[in-house]
Amino acid sequence: MADQSLISARGLVKRFGDFTAVDGIDLEVAPGEAFGFLGPNGAGKSSTMRMIGCVSTPTAGELRILGMDPVRDGTRIRARLGVCPQLDNLDPDLSVRENLTTYARYFGVSRAEARRRADELLEFVQLSDRANGKVEPLSGGMKRRLTIARAMVNEPDLVLLDEPTTGLDPQARHLVWERLFRLKQRGTTLVLTTHYMDEAEQLCDRLVVMDGGKIVAEGSPRALIENYSTAEVVELRFADGLDSNAQYAAKLDGIGERVDPLPDRVLLYADDGDAAVAEVHRRGLSPASVLVRRSTLEDVFLHLTGRTLVD
């Protein structure tokens, strides 16, 4: 039901001049859902996020956010959104706490309440000890956390996070994940983009893979793996170097569902990894190393969006 969706898009298009960044996508995001966008650089993720955030007008198609029209009701919609843009745009003229209190005022939050929320949010993202300091000396990860805190200062129903954890160290990433998970438990709807497959698997109930402005796959992380990859993947490395991996791949043809030669290894997609390895040896090949692992979203992603950049 479109009426119940927080976000509903039909044939959504964004063009810059004659370049099409978003090429007719359909979306439904339900309340309480954590929804993710995956896709290579330039896929159109941020362009889509900005349209959802009502700062960019769709070129064509239908878009409804919180049941309203972004062009007519932009102000009312934005009042209920929290936005963490891809690039931090914190205010260097203000202190860490003032970045939150000042932002709250744009939403009509009273001075006292803004102050209360700011302190609570600084606690939430573990920046309380920097509250009175400037923004500039914060590390990249701290700035990111402050931007995320700022996105929550209006207690939004829908939070848009464009690459929330890019550039964070593992500790900071886990902290952000944990905080986002807590938000989700409180019933906040999350929409995020990411380049980290583990992040998508951890946080998203459902995700879409975008490529070239189009949605090329959609589903839960589990369903995507089931639909676009095999249960297991065998990674083979050959040491002798006489043949290129492409030549090895030819010799491995027919094992499992798919053979994928990379510059440094050959991937065998098979539901039963051990059986595939046995078959490799039966064909008289002796790889220097063999690794059997479960399929991940990364395998799906690479399969769907091609390897041109990753190679």
Binding site: S56, R78, A79, P85, D91, P92, T102, F107
Partner: protein
């Protein structure tokens, strides 16, 4: 349909405009650098008044303006007041505004909230005029203390300086949305200085050849000087209605164009 669209665009929420101003108040406390700029902006017209108005005035003696005799300083002071109102507002809506627009991404962050481009423009303009009015209020105090105008003249001139600030602030804001980079500010500075010299500031425009006089009468600072001088000296004629109308058009037009540009640039 058109009118409802326009109405939607220019309807402002006082709370959101207040929040835009509030951000600048917060930034004021950020450090001494802002205060240095603030104070230097105030001293410039005062120094001109003292050096040219009083210094050159001693050589020139009294002059007759609109049939009334006055000291040269009393003639120059209202012009310096108008200049002060202009540059106070301009400093904010050009330099600082441009920096927030292009480099600090301040408005990008603001536009993700319920605040609209027009509300940003209004808030920034009001802030600029508050800053400019701080200058002009103190400057008027000096003028009264030096006997260059009366208290009544000062009270009448103050609202006029607010209008001058609105007019120049708004047009300056629009111009800074068109700036490509810092180099363009040199051009702006030159233009501002030319206006400063040739707007009837230091001598009555009637002293120039007719062609030049008409040319000057088309430029904005001339109208600001005329209006402020009329109110400070008490020599008020119907001509100030033209001055007021000219400045009002600048204010409304500048604001409208500036907010359109901000929207075009940031809401891609």
């Amino acid at each position: 349909m058109m009118t409802t669209l326009v109405a939607a665009r220019i309807s402002v929420s006082p709370g959101r405009v207040g929040a835009v101003i509030n951000r600048n108040v917060g930034a004021l406390r950020s450090g001494p650098s802002y205060w240095v700029v603030l104070i230097s902006g105030f001293f410039e017209p005062l120094l001109y008044l003292l050096s040219i108005g009083v210094g050159v005035g001693a050589l020139v003696g009294d002059l007759t303006f609109d049939g009334q005799t006055m000291s040269y300083a009393a003639f120059v002071a209202p012009a310096m007041l108008a200049v002060s109102a202009m540059s106070g507002a301009l400093a904010e809506t050009t330099f600082n505004f441009f920096f927030k627009l292009k480099y600090m991404k301040t408005f990008e962050a603001v536009l993700a909230t319920p605040v609209r481009p027009f509300e940003i423009a209004v808030g920034e303009l009001v802030w600029a005029v508050i800053r400019g009015s701080l200058y002009t209020a103190i400057f008027l105090g000096f003028m009264v203390a030096m006997g260059l105008t009366t208290v009544a003249g000062a009270l009448a001139a103050f609202p006029a300086t607010v209008l001058v600030g609105l007019a120049f602030g708004a047009v300056g804001m629009w111009v800074s949305t068109l700036m490509r980079g810092w180099q363009d500010f040199d051009l702006l500075g030159t233009g501002q200085f030319a206006l400063f010299l040739f707007s009837g500031t230091f001598s009555p425009v009637q002293n120039y050849p007719v062609g030049v006089e008409i040319l000057i009468q088309l430029t904005p600072l001339y109208h600001a000087v005329e209006l402020v001088r009329a109110l400070c000296t008490g020599i008020v004629g119907p001509g100030i209605l033209v001055n007021i109308a000219y400045l009002a058009v600048m204010g409304v037009g500048g604001l409208w164009l500036a907010s359109r540009r901000v929207e075009k640039m940031l809401c891609l």
